[in-house]
């Protein structure tokens, strides 16, 4: 099945899968670059001479569905060489970079493109090196002749020299700064940002056109001492019809797909308007939609449409409530890999799973599950109640605790609840975790066995079995982001842990080992 995605969106998905490669950093020879991403291909195309067929304005607009006004604006504002700086801004996945690069390709000949994606250039120095190496005629190397400037003054002088050489030959240079918004969070971003934005004034070269691409709104760049503003082109998010046009682009069976989109797109559009996310959700849904069909080339009639709609309706309801889908055969290892790749992503993965149907099995050892549960309890329950909760009777007797509550105590309870909501899960030392772990494993042994024998004997044997590699399990759970290890407490000096799972997942894990979790949870 062909994917109903345009190259732009594949760029995003590949960018999220792997950090996008740093272009032409001076330390890495150009030969060893990672495989080109679609954006890089587009970049190469923008720098290359245009093909004969692809150089008309209509062809350009056809490649940018729903971006007609913006593309025309860009063309007009960039067109004959001297131009004031330009800033394209708009949300993520609205086609800013794509429109710009295609427009620049259309504007050939006699232009030179210098493209710096600031997201992949982590420091001013890397940015300077990248810009200068793209401008220098010979491949930039780390030889002593080319010293990478690290001071802004040296950089501007070097940049002016390089640009002067090119401009004097009558060429127009387009300097593109993509992802400008990330500079704000850089170490010295506060100083670099005005420099980049005032480059037009500093260089004073009319044949050099500066283009900034930013997902942050222009007011993010206002500075205390006033700023020189570029011309703005705003990229709004796509409307429903534009999204439909984009998704329909080059689909092998447009009739079937449009009947599918007329059912599925509107509800999903209420949740998110980003094309990349929509296409990711729609693709598996469409496969579901086609399931009853034997022939994928079939053109649906009204009756079949209704049948297909009824078939897909339940899946649609599920899809609305999940951020992404984990294939059924996904093993724990794969998920762990994903978890260690980026901070927070694993947590989302697991959080996302609770929306899934319950048949997904946790591939986790029993002791790991118990450890997870005890970490959850340690994070949620106040430490002072441990003794009461884990006494010999096992668990909290809710009936005893019922007391008449006065107005004042009710109010106090409310504020405590508020506080808990704000604070989130608490941290705990390793000792407490192990103690709870020991308690709940012994209790569950009692429950499971139900044999009338000396309890402590049985629990001891069970515990030793489960306790054998608990530290190893703990580090595994930390690595897969179920638990997070925070900095050591200044008073106690030992590391503290925090559980990252939510209640739904904890209950699910508890159910899988038949553990009465709710009995041990302190309810306020």
């Amino acid at each position: 099945m062909s994917q109903p995605v345009t190259p732009r969106r594949t760029t995003r998905s590949s960018a999220s899968a792997s950090p996008s490669p740093a272009p032409a950093s001076p330390t890495s020879p150009p030969k060893s670059r990672p495989k080109p991403s679609p954006r890089r291909q587009l970049l190469a195309a923008a720098a290359a001479p245009p093909k004969e067929d692809g150089s008309s304005a209509d062809a350009l607009l056809a490649e940018l569905p729903g971006r007609r006004a913006q593309a025309m604006d860009i063309l007009r504002l960039l067109a004959p060489a001297p131009a004031l700086p330009l800033m394209l801004h708009g949300g993520a996945a609205t086609g800013k970079t794509r429109a710009l690069l295609l427009a620049l390709r259309y504007l050939r000949p006699s232009q030179r493109l210098v493209y710096a994606a600031l997201r992949s250039l982590p420091s001013p120095r890397a940015l300077f090196a990248s810009l200068l190496s793209q401008l220098s005629a010979t491949p930039f190397s780390t030889s002593s002749r080319h010293r990478v400037p690290d001071k802004p003054s040296d950089f501007v002088a070097a940049l002016r020299d390089a640009l002067n050489g090119i401009v004097s030959q009558g060429e127009v240079v387009y300097l593109v700064f993509d992802n400008l918004e990330v500079v704000r969070s850089w170490d010295k971003g506060g100083q670099l940002l005005p420099l980049l934005l005032r480059l037009h004034d500093l260089l004073q070269l009319p044949q050099v056109v500066l283009v900034y691409v930013s997902s942050a709104t222009p007011d993010a760049y206002y500075s205390m001492t006033g700023s020189v503003e570029p011309n703005y082109v705003y990229f709004p998010d796509y409307t429903v019809d534009e999204v439909r046009d984009i998704l329909m682009h080059d689909h092998p069976n447009p009739k079937l797909y449009s009947s599918f989109l007329s059912v599925a797109l509107k509800p999903l559009f209420r949740v998110t308007r980003r094309v990349d996310e929509l296409s990711a959700v729609l693709e598996p849904l469409f496969r579901r939609y086609c399931e009853p069909l034997g022939d994928l080339k079939a053109v649906p009639d009204e009756g079949m449409k209704r049948r297909l709609f009824e078939h897909v309706q339940s899946h649609l309801a599920v899809a609305l409530n999940e951020t992404f889908n984990v294939p059924m055969r996904a093993s724990m290892d794969e998920i762990k890999d994903g978890g260690s790749a980026g901070k927070g992503s694993a947590k989302r993965q697991f959080a996302g799973k609770d929306g899934l149907s319950s048949e997904l099995e946790f591939h986790m050892s029993v002791s790991a599950k118990y450890l997870l549960l005890s970490a959850f309890l340690a994070s949620r329950n106040p430490a002072t109640l441990d003794a009461a909760l884990f006494d010999s009777t096992g668990g909290l007797d809710n009936r005893k605790r019922k007391r008449k509550s006065s107005q004042a105590s009710m109010h106090m309870k409310d504020t405590i609840v508020e506080e808990m909501l704000m604070k989130g899960p608490g941290t705990f030392p390793l000792e407490r975790l192990l103690a709870i772990f020991q308690c709940i494993t012994s209790v569950s042994e009692d429950i499971l066995d139900e044999i009338d024998c000396p309890g402590n004997m049985a629990s001891e044997s069970g515990t030793t079995g489960l306790m054998s590699d608990v530290l190893l399990q703990l580090s595994t759970l930390c690595n897969s982001n179920f638990l997070s290890k925070s900095r050591s407490c200044p008073l106690e000096g030992s590391a503290r842990y925090r559980s990252n799972i939510d209640e739904d997942l904890a209950l699910k894990v508890a159910r899988s080992v038949n553990f009465p979790l709710s009995k041990y949870m302190y309810r306020r």
Binding site: G90, L202, P206, P236, V271, L320, E322, G344, K347, M422
Partner: protein, 470 residues
């Protein structure tokens, strides 16, 4: 067909001419210099009197950024061939006198962009006495570091006087060299003019550069002018005592030009000259169209709404650039419509725009946050927002009830769009759900955007309205 193509090429030629003019600071400010302005005469009087009385003087020109600061630099880089107006001829004479006069130190603080005056005077001087002045330009954004600045000064001095510059020289060597050069130039009756752009940035740190510059000017032999350019009104307050005591202050306030002079500027910039290589018939037609637009009542409205927001020259330039870019290529003429289009594209409200881009769920979250703020919650996080969202959904039983994770993704989108942000930078290692957040939009903006949004469910509107009148 051929005629149409020819017209289009003429139009694009004209467009290129106009764009080139708008991007060229020298042309833009040559328009301003020909207009007799009261500020000019004030400054002229100030300068003239201070020179004739041979007193130390410092003048502070105050005004907004973006009115031709670059013109200072430009006039030195490119030798401008634009004829100088009569207005400034005698100011030039005064400066002329100053250069021939023996020892004279002059400090001019220009706070703002309004530096065409300086520009023109220096330009004139340079024309009359190519050997009598040399100009050193520094930019606070690039040379705020003292070592860097002295090195740059030494480099430019070497360049100016055909000396060889050593990259290896230490900062002390460079400072010493600068002082020597000042003395030598003073003996040769040659004035060195220092132009310090973004002057306020030089006032960071120990201000060693400013001190050594101004201290060198205290000696009898040196002959130098320091021009500080800044858009901070309190630029002189930033100076240390020892630096501040070395010059006297005088401030002169420059306000943005009046609407009339801006209109003259626009006419000057947009009108095509008769003697251009473009066909005369076309030029006449074009200029007639421009004149008729300028006399239109609608245009007055456009101009006033433009200057109400920002009356600096750079703002007007950007506006004109857009107008020229929106020129009708077939006829090659500007129309009222291109002015209207340019105005509407300049008057965007980015926050409102991105509010219009939100999905229904994202709007729900914003409304919930707004409700929480109206309940005077001191701080709240995603979990509390979800509690509010649940209660709203339970009360109204809408179809927009989504799971926790989907809501969290919408929440992250809002963070990405910078419509909401974390309330503090503490707790970076805490999970995002628990970090306190705040709204970055007002409830009025939210209400307006809900009104404008055609797909927005009525419940949302009600949720927002009811709590406001409760």
């Amino acid at each position: 067909m051929a005629a149409a193509a020819a017209a289009a090429s003429v139009a694009s030629q004209a467009q290129a001419v106009l764009r080139g003019r708008l991007c060229d600071q020298a042309v833009v400010h040559s328009a301003l210099r020909s207009s007799p302005d009261t500020n000019y005469s004030k400054l002229k009087y100030l300068v003239a009197s201070s020179v004739s009385e041979a007193c130390n003087n410092s003048v502070l020109l105050l005004g907004p950024r973006g009115c031709g600061k670059a013109a200072v630099r430009f006039s030195f880089l490119v030798y401008s061939s634009a004829p100088l107006s009569a207005v400034f001829s005698d100011a030039g004479v005064v400066f002329d006198e100053m250069c021939q006069w023996a020892i004279y130190d002059f400090t001019l603080w220009v706070v703002s962009a309004w530096t065409e005056v300086v520009d023109m005077v220096l330009d004139d001087l340079k024309k009359d006495h190519p050997d009598a002045i040399s100009v050193i330009r520094l930019n606070g954004m690039l040379h705020s570091d003292d070592n860097c600045a002295t090195k740059e000064i030494a480099r430019q001095l070497c360049l100016e006087h055909q000396l060889s510059f050593s990259k290896m020289a230490s900062s002390d060597d460079n400072t010493e060299f600068m002082i020597d050069m000042l003395r030598e130039c003073g003996l040769a009756h040659k004035t060195i003019i220092f132009v310090l752009e973004e002057f306020d940035l030089f006032a960071q740190g120990k201000q060693r550069l400013l001190y050594s510059l101004l201290d060198a000017m205290q000696s009898l032999t040196s002959q130098a002018v320091v021009i500080g350019v800044s858009c901070r009104l309190d630029a002189d307050q930033l100076l240390e005592k020892r630096v501040r005591s070395r010059f006297s202050h005088r401030k002169l306030l420059f306000v943005p030009s009046s609407v009339d002079s801006l209109q003259r500027l626009m006419e000057h910039l947009l009108a095509l000259p008769e003697d251009s290589p473009l066909p005369t018939k076309y030029v006449r037609e074009y200029n007639a169209r421009i004149t008729s637009i300028f006399n239109d009542k609608k245009f007055k409205g456009i101009l006033s709404s433009l200057t109400d927001a920002d009356a600096t020259t750079s703002h007007i330039l950007r506006f004109l650039f857009r107008v020229v870019s929106y020129m009708d290529i077939d006829s090659g003429l500007l129309s009222m419509q291109s002015f209207m289009n340019a105005l509407s594209s300049m008057q965007r409200q980015p926050k409102m725009d991105s509010l219009q881009d939100l999905s229904i769920l994202e709007l729900y979250i914003l409304v919930c946050m707004n409700r929480l703020e109206d309940k005077e919650k001191s701080s709240y996080n995603f979990i509390t927002i979800m509690k509010e969202y649940k209660s709203v959904q339970d009360a109204y039983k809408t179809s927009d009830k989504y799971s926790h994770t989907v809501c969290f993704r919408a929440f992250e989108h809002l963070l990405d769009r910078e419509l909401i942000s974390f309330a503090d930078n503490k707790g970076r290692n805490q999970a995002l759900e628990y970090r306190p957040v705040k709204l970055l939009i007002s409830s009025r903006e939210l209400a307006e955007s809900l009104k404008l949004n055609t797909t927005c469910p009525a419940v949302l509107q009600k949720l927002l309205d009811r709590e406001r009148y409760m």
